[in-house]
C-alpha cells in the first residue's frame, strides 16, 4: 500500500494520496460495526487521544483567549467600543479560532502519536501478524483510533472555547478594567446558541476531527515500514492535516454562514 512513486508528478501523487485516503475512509466505515466489539480499545484510545491532550488544549485556550482580549481591546478602543470586547472575543473563538486552533493542536499532538504508533506497528510487523491471525487490523487498530479522534475533537473544542472565554475575561475585566456586567451582557446578547455554538463549534470540530483522525490513521497505515518512512509519515500527517483543516474551515464557514 505504498504510495512512493518517485517518477510521477507531484500533482498526480497528491491526487493519488487523496483518492487512497477516501477509499481508506470507506474501509474504516465498513469496519466500524465490527470494531464495536473492541469497545475497550476505543475507550483506551479516547483516553490517549482526548484526555491526554487536555493539558495543551486548556493552556493554549487560555492564552488564545488572553491574547484576543488584549488585541481586541486596543483595536476597539480606537472606536470607543471597548464594551463590545466580550462579544467579539466570544464570536471570534466560537466561529473560527476555537475549532481551527484546537484541530491544529490536535493534529500536532494526537495525530502524530496515532501515526507514529500505527507506523511502528506496521514496521514491527504487528499488522502483518494480525492479518495472519484473521484479526481485521482495520477494525482493531484503525477504526478505534478514528472513532476516538472523532469523539474527542468536539469535546476538546468545547474545553478550548471555555478556557478562551475565561482568558478573555481575565484580561478584559481583571486587567484592562472593562466592566464585568458589560462584558457578559454584551456577550450574551450577541452570541446565538444555534448559529455560533452549535454551527460554529460543534459541526466544525466534528468535521475537523474526522479529517485529522482519518489523515493520521491513513498515514500511519500506509507508511513504508522503515524508521525513515515513519518519520516522514508523521510529518505528512501534520502538514496534510493543517492544509485540510484550513481549507475545510473556509468551505464550512461559507456553507454554514
Amino acid at each position: 500500500m505504498s504510495a512512493q512513486m518517485p517518477h510521477k508528478s507531484i500533482v498526480l501523487q497528491s491526487l493519488a494520496q487523496i483518492g487512497n485516503c477516501g477509499l481508506f475512509l470507506l474501509r474504516i466505515l465498513a469496519a466500524v460495526p465490527s470494531s464495536l466489539r473492541h469497545v475497550r480499545e476505543t475507550v483506551r484510545q479516547l483516553w490517549f487521544v482526548g484526555a491526554m491532550s487536555l493539558t495543551i488544549i486548556m493552556t493554549c485556550g487560555l492564552f488564545v483567549g488572553m491574547v484576543l482580549g488584549l488585541q481586541l481591546y486596543h483595536v476597539l478602543a480606537i472606536f470607543g467600543g471597548t464594551s463590545a470586547t466580550g462579544s467579539v472575543v466570544a464570536l471570534a473563538i466560537y466561529r473560527e479560532l476555537g475549532p481551527v486552533v484546537t484541530a491544529l493542536l490536535f493534529a500536532g499532538r494526537a495525530g502524530t502519536s496515532i501515526t507514529a504508533e500505527i507506523g511502528l506497528m506496521r514496521a514491527t510487523d504487528q499488522i502483518a501478524a494480525m492479518e495472519m491471525m484473521a484479526v481485521d487490523p482495520i477494525a482493531y487498530v484503525a477504526a478505534p483510533r478514528f472513532l476516538a479522534g472523532l469523539i474527542a475533537m468536539p469535546l476538546l473544542c468545547c474545553v478550548f472555547c471555555a478556557m478562551g472565554i475565561f482568558g478573555g475575561h481575565l484580561v478584559g475585566v481583571s486587567w484592562l478594567g472593562i466592566d464585568n456586567g458589560t462584558f457578559w451582557s454584551n456577550m450574551t446578547s450577541n452570541v446565538d446558541v444555534w448559529d455560533d455554538i452549535i454551527n460554529g463549534v460543534m459541526w466544525k470540530s466534528v468535521a475537523f476531527g474526522a479529517v485529522v483522525s482519518l489523515i493520521a490513521v491513513f498515514q500511519g497505515y500506509t507508511t513504508p515500514p522503515t524508521s525513515e518512512g515513519v518519520a516522514y509519515a508523521t510529518t505528512r500527517t501534520v502538514v496534510s492535516s493543517s492544509i485540510a483543516i484550513l481549507a475545510l474551515d473556509f468551505v464550512l464557514t461559507a456553507f454554514l454562514m
Binding site: 468545547c158 451582557s185 446578547s189 455554538i197
Partner: protein
C-alpha cells in the same frame, strides 16, 4: 485489569468535562442566558417602520428589560408591521394607553422597544394590544431635520414649482428652505440670472400638500438670525385663487444687504449720505459669509 478500569474512568471524566464545557458555553455565554423565559404573556403592537428591530430584541420599561420581541410579521396588503412582544408575567401592569417606541441603544447599537406607561387604569392582558406606537426614525429624516433644507418636502415628484423674480437674492443658495409662518414647506430649486430683465429668477419647489397658498402672496428673502443663512419666506395674501404649478409670484422683496442697512443709518443719521439704498449692487459678502 486495573489499568483498563482507569482508562474507562479517565475517559468518562474527560467526556463529562467536555459536555460540561459545552453546557457552560451554551447557557452562560450565549443569548440563552438572557431569555430566562419563565412564564410570559404576549401583547402586540403595530409599527409603520420597524427600522432595524430584530426578533428577540429586548423590550424595556425605564431601561430595564421586561421581555423580548417574539415575532415581526407583515401581512400582505397592509403597510404596517405587526410586532408581537412577549413580556414576563411579573410585569403585568402595563396600562393600555402606553406608548411603544423603537429606540436605538447608543449610537450604533441594536434597536429595542421601549414602553412608556400611560395613565390608564386598565392593564394590557395576554393577547392584548398597544395602540400607541412610534416608529423608528430613519437616519435620513433626522439628518434632514438638522440640515433644515425642507425636511418635509423632499419627496421626489411631491412638489410643484413656483417662480419669483428678485432684484437681489443676497446669499440665497439652491436648497435653502422656503418657509411659511416659520415652517419649512419647500426648498429653492434653482436660481438663475435673467439676461433680459436683469434680475434673478428663483424657482421654488413647494410640497404638494401646501396647495392652497393664495396667488397674491408676497415672497421675501429673510435671514435666519443675525448672521444665519438666508431663506425664502412666503407671506400669504388674500386671493381666493391658489398657486398652481408654474405660477409666478409677483410681489417680491429682495434680500437686505449689509451695505444697504449701514447706508440707511448713515443717510438717516447724517446728511452726507454715502451710497445708500437700493439693491442693485452685486450680491457680495454681507455679514453672513466669512
Amino acid at each position: 485489569m486495573s489499568q483498563r478500569k482507569s482508562y474507562a474512568v479517565g475517559t468518562g471524566l474527560f467526556i463529562v468535562l467536555g459536555f460540561a464545557a459545552l453546557a457552560y458555553l451554551a447557557t452562560q455565554t450565549s443569548s440563552v442566558a438572557n431569555s430566562h423565559q419563565g412564564s410570559s404573556y404576549t401583547i402586540d403592537a403595530q409599527f409603520a417602520n420597524i427600522g432595524a428591530l430584530k426578533e428577540r430584541a429586548p423590550v424595556k420599561v425605564a431601561g430595564v428589560r421586561v421581555g423580548q420581541v417574539q415575532s415581526i410579521t407583515l401581512e400582505p396588503g397592509k403597510d404596517v408591521a405587526d410586532v408581537t412582544l412577549s413580556i414576563d408575567k411579573k410585569y403585568n401592569e402595563i396600562p393600555t394607553d402606553s406608548v411603544a417606541t423603537i429606540y436605538t441603544s447608543g449610537l450604533l447599537g441594536d434597536q429595542y422597544v421601549g414602553l412608556q406607561f400611560g395613565g390608564a387604569k386598565t392593564y394590557v392582558a395576554d393577547g392584548g394590544h398597544i395602540g400607541l406606537t412610534k416608529s423608528s426614525a430613519p437616519l435620513e429624516e433626522m439628518l434632514g431635520k438638522f440640515l433644515g433644507s425642507g425636511g418635509a418636502a423632499d419627496a421626489i415628484g411631491g412638489t410643484y414649482s413656483v417662480r419669483a423674480d428678485f432684484t437681489n437674492v443676497g446669499t440665497l443658495s439652491v436648497g435653502a428652505p422656503v418657509k411659511m409662518a416659520g415652517v419649512a414647506i419647500g426648498s429653492v430649486a434653482s436660481i438663475k440670472a435673467d439676461p433680459v430683465k436683469l434680475d434673478a429668477t428663483v424657482t421654488l419647489a413647494i410640497d404638494k400638500k401646501y396647495n392652497q397658498i393664495p396667488d397674491d402672496s408676497s415672497v421675501s428673502i429673510f435671514t435666519s438670525g443675525l448672521i444665519g443663512s438666508q431663506y425664502v419666506a412666503i407671506q400669504p395674501g388674500g386671493s381666493p385663487n391658489s398657486l398652481k404649478d408654474g405660477d409666478q409670484l409677483v410681489l417680491t422683496q429682495s434680500a437686505m444687504q449689509l451695505e444697504d442697512l449701514i447706508g440707511k443709518f448713515l443717510v438717516n443719521g447724517s446728511p452726507s449720505g454715502s451710497n445708500s439704498a437700493g439693491g442693485n449692487s452685486s450680491p457680495n459678502t454681507p455679514a453672513g459669509k466669512h
